[in-house]
Every structure is written in structure tokens, then in C-alpha cells.
Assembly symmetry: C2
Homo-oligomer: 229 residues x 2
DNA sequence: TTACGCCTTATGTCTATATCTTTTGAGAAA
DNA sequence: TTTCTCAAAAGATATAGACATAAGGCGTAA
């Protein structure tokens, strides 16, 4: 077999990391590289395309390909379902519905979810436990105008997140991470002290332009979101 | 021109999101799809490969391709240099070196960075300002065994991060995000109240197995890390 | 019944060639 | 000098055909 695109990619990457190809310098074109590797241009193309995708090199038609001055550092973050997250830690997962009620959307939420004047929402409060200890507190609002069937659904056994991903699997979302101080309620749920710094994720989800759900996920004290790159 | 791989990809994605292809169901093979789209197999292959990469479908040789039961939700997070991050906010960036000193590595750091018994580190404390207001506090340790030239370098004008990405551009790293309570020192630097919940990133960087640097980046009160997917 | 091994099949990848698209840079025009 | 236009260059993508590889499944042997 001839040389593979992986080998080409690895070789180019080696040249870059070992300094044979300096950051900012431009590279030979695909035709020449294909000739020097003794392979087809498509093979070189795939290698280069992936390197560009990885943020290592920059490609522009006619201008050619050059090694990025500052390689883009990027990580892929998998957004897990909390149950899977806990089970991957090797802990037993338990879910509890604390509170669930359909209600008119409060003003702050109406603005945030871009709801109409008299839209109703289903407000759910849930807890997720790892080996019996509080792991995550979930405060969720579901737009009943977009998902009226949510009102009939019983969330005592399966969490709203799991129900949502199976009901409306292909949505757009925005997620944001930040730090909050535990108030008395949260401190009680998460078994920590009022004022403790907690890691919180907020997620807003849309389907075809319509807001489906907004959720605040507050993690137990000391939680870390870790990634390799 | 014939149909593009983007069109094929878009069409398959449409079929999935609109429920024509149910989650968990298996799809026709590449040859059949190519025939039905009236294009080459390579075109279908690229569309399917990207969908698999996006976590929408699952592919296995011989077994074929099926729509994932639970599509993997993933985001790409670009790790920015703080200066760029601030300038992208449209604010003026200012950097200040607070403190810099070479010293023997303290025990906790030795363990964390996997340093040898008598390795020395350069401990740098810096501040990053956006439009004059504190934005980020940086507490950094550089392994002088791995990067002795750091000791001679003057960090009063350019931050250690910028120096590092230009000196050792291609490294491996682990990054983790969490929440911390501001202690008196940090509160003073970041102009907030002691006990405030702050968003903190920790990053450890390696080059060929050797630990290069460890950094704690503490953001001003209210900082959010936001992503779309 | 169970375990091993081969055959078939679907995806993975390479080749060679062709056309399309974007963008640069040169030359013409103002 | 500046602006506009256009051709060439390089990457982006399509095609047809071939072979490689992994793995499901069936048949055979223990």
C-alpha cells in the first residue's frame, strides 16, 4: 500500500512541531507535496484539510498554505447528560423530582426566553445524586407553548433532560459556565454552606427559532469541568 | 455542477431532524445513497463522515450507518489568549506584572507538576485589565528545568502566556474550570469582596512529557464562558 | 451446543483526472 | 497615483475505479 493521509498528516505535524516548518512560514502547494510524498493530491489534501481544521495551519485559495503564527488552541467539549456523567465517574446515579408546577412565566424569564405575554412554563426543580450524595441541582423551565405535552408528562422517574433529548433530540443551544454563591436554598440541597462558590451551567435550547427550555445546573462544591487538548 | 457533499449532508441532516430518519434506525449504504443522489460514492462518504464527526450518526464497517440514539452534543471551545479575549470584547487591554521570582517549587506544586526534588520554578503573578478595570488575575509557575531561558526573560511588558505560546507553541495541555471563593488578596486585585464566587481556569501544559507550566487564571466577578452549539 | 474460521459486505482510503471557486496581483484605465 | 478589470494560481470538490480493513454471520468441526 502507498502512503496514507494519516502518515502525511503526521509527517507535516512533526515538521511543524520540530521546527522544520516555522510558524508563519508558507508551505509547498498540494501538487508539489503530493509529488514529494509520491502520492495523489487528494491524499495530501485530506491531510492538510484536517490540519487546517485542527487550527495548526491556515489555507487560502491562491495565497497558499502557511503554518499558523499562533496555533488555535481548541478543545471539544462533550455536553453530557448528568446521569451518564455520574455513571462514568463510577458512582450510582439517583434522580429526584423536588418540585414541578406549570405557571405563567415570570418577567425575567419571559425576557430571557423571548416568550409571549401570556405564555406558560413548566417549572421543574430536580436533584441528581452520586452514590447518595448531592451532585447537581437542576432548575428548569420548559416553554409549554412550544412543548405542551410536557405538562402531561410525569417527571418523577426520569429527569427532564432525558425526556427532552428523546422528545426533541435535534436542537440548537447556548451554554454558559460561571461561578455563583450558594444561597440558603441551594446550600441546603447541595449540602454545603451558604456563600460557598459553586460552579453553574446555564443552557438555553431552541428548536426552529422557538425557545424550548432554559436550565440552571448548579454543581456540588468543588466540581471541575476538565478537558484535554 | 453536480450535487455537492454539503447538499448531501444538509439533506441527510434534514431527514434526521425532521424525523424521516428516526434515531436508532439504520441508513442505506453509501453505494445506494450515491445512486439515489446521483453522485459518486466519495461525495456521500464525505457527507456521512462529517455527520459522524459531528456526533449525529454512527458508522461501523460491515454493520453500516445508523442515526445515533442520543446525538452527541459537543462544542468546540477556543482557548484564547487573554489579551485577544479582551480586545474581542472591544475593550482596551492592559497588562501588568505584579510579582516575579524564581524559587524552589513548593511541595504541592512539585506533586502537581511532577517535578524532581530540587527543581526550581519561576513564579509569576500578573494582572490583566479591560478598559482599566481588573479582568483576570494570573498566578503562574514555569518549570525552570524545562525552560531555563524563562529566568532571564523580562515579563514586565509581555505576559508569560504570550511569551510561552511563541516560545513553545505546540504543547499538550489540560484545562479545568471551576468556582473559587475570593480570598483577601484576590479580592483586592480583582476589586471585589472577599468570599465572592469567582470563575477560575487552571491549565497545565506539557511538551514531550515534561511539565512546562501550571497556571491559575481567576476572572473578575460575573465572568461567563459562553458557547453555542 | 459451542468455538473457530472463512466469506461477504460496508466503510475506509488511495489514485488519477477534471472542473469549480476564490483571491491575488498584474496590467489597463482613469 | 489610484482604481478597476481580468487572468492565473491554489485550494475545494466531484468522479470512477480499485484495493484495504474490520466485523457480522454462517458453516463446520469439536
Amino acid at each position: 500500500m502507498s502512503i496514507t493521509y494519516r502518515e502525511v498528516k503526521a509527517d507535516i505535524l512533526r515538521q511543524i512541531t520540530q521546527g522544520e516548518l516555522a510558524p508563519g512560514s508558507s508551505m509547498p502547494n498540494e501538487v508539489d507535496l503530493a509529488a514529494s510524498y509520491g502520492c495523489a493530491r487528494a491524499t495530501v489534501n485530506r491531510a492538510m484539510r484536517e490540519l487546517a481544521d485542527d487550527g495548526i495551519i491556515e489555507r487560502r485559495r491562491k495565497a497558499g498554505t502557511r503554518v499558523r503564527l499562533n496555533p488555535i488552541r481548541q478543545v471539544r467539549l462533550n455536553i453530557p447528560i448528568v446521569g451518564q456523567e455520574i455513571e462514568e465517574l463510577g458512582a450510582a446515579y439517583r434522580y429526584a423530582l423536588v418540585h414541578g408546577q406549570a405557571e405563567p412565566a415570570p418577567n425575567w424569564l419571559r425576557a430571557r426566553m423571548a416568550l409571549k405575554r401570556d405564555d406558560r412554563v413548566l417549572h421543574l426543580t430536580c436533584m441528581h445524586y452520586a452514590d447518595g450524595a448531592p451532585y447537581q441541582h437542576e432548575d428548569r423551565w420548559i416553554n409549554l407553548d412550544a412543548l405542551p405535552e410536557a405538562e402531561q408528562h410525569d417527571f418523577s422517574d426520569i429527569g427532564p433532560n432525558e425526556w427532552l433529548v428523546s422528545t426533541v433530540p435535534f436542537t440548537e443551544a447556548q451554554i454558559s459556565f460561571h461561578a455563583v454563591q450558594a444561597d440558603a436554598t441551594i446550600a441546603d440541597y447541595l449540602d454545603c454552606t451558604e456563600g460557598d462558590a459553586l460552579f453553574q451551567a446555564e443552557r438555553m435550547t431552541w428548536l426552529e427559532g422557538q425557545t424550548i427550555t432554559f436550565v440552571q445546573l448548579t454543581y456540588r462544591r468543588g466540581h471541575r469541568l476538565t478537558m484535554q487538548y
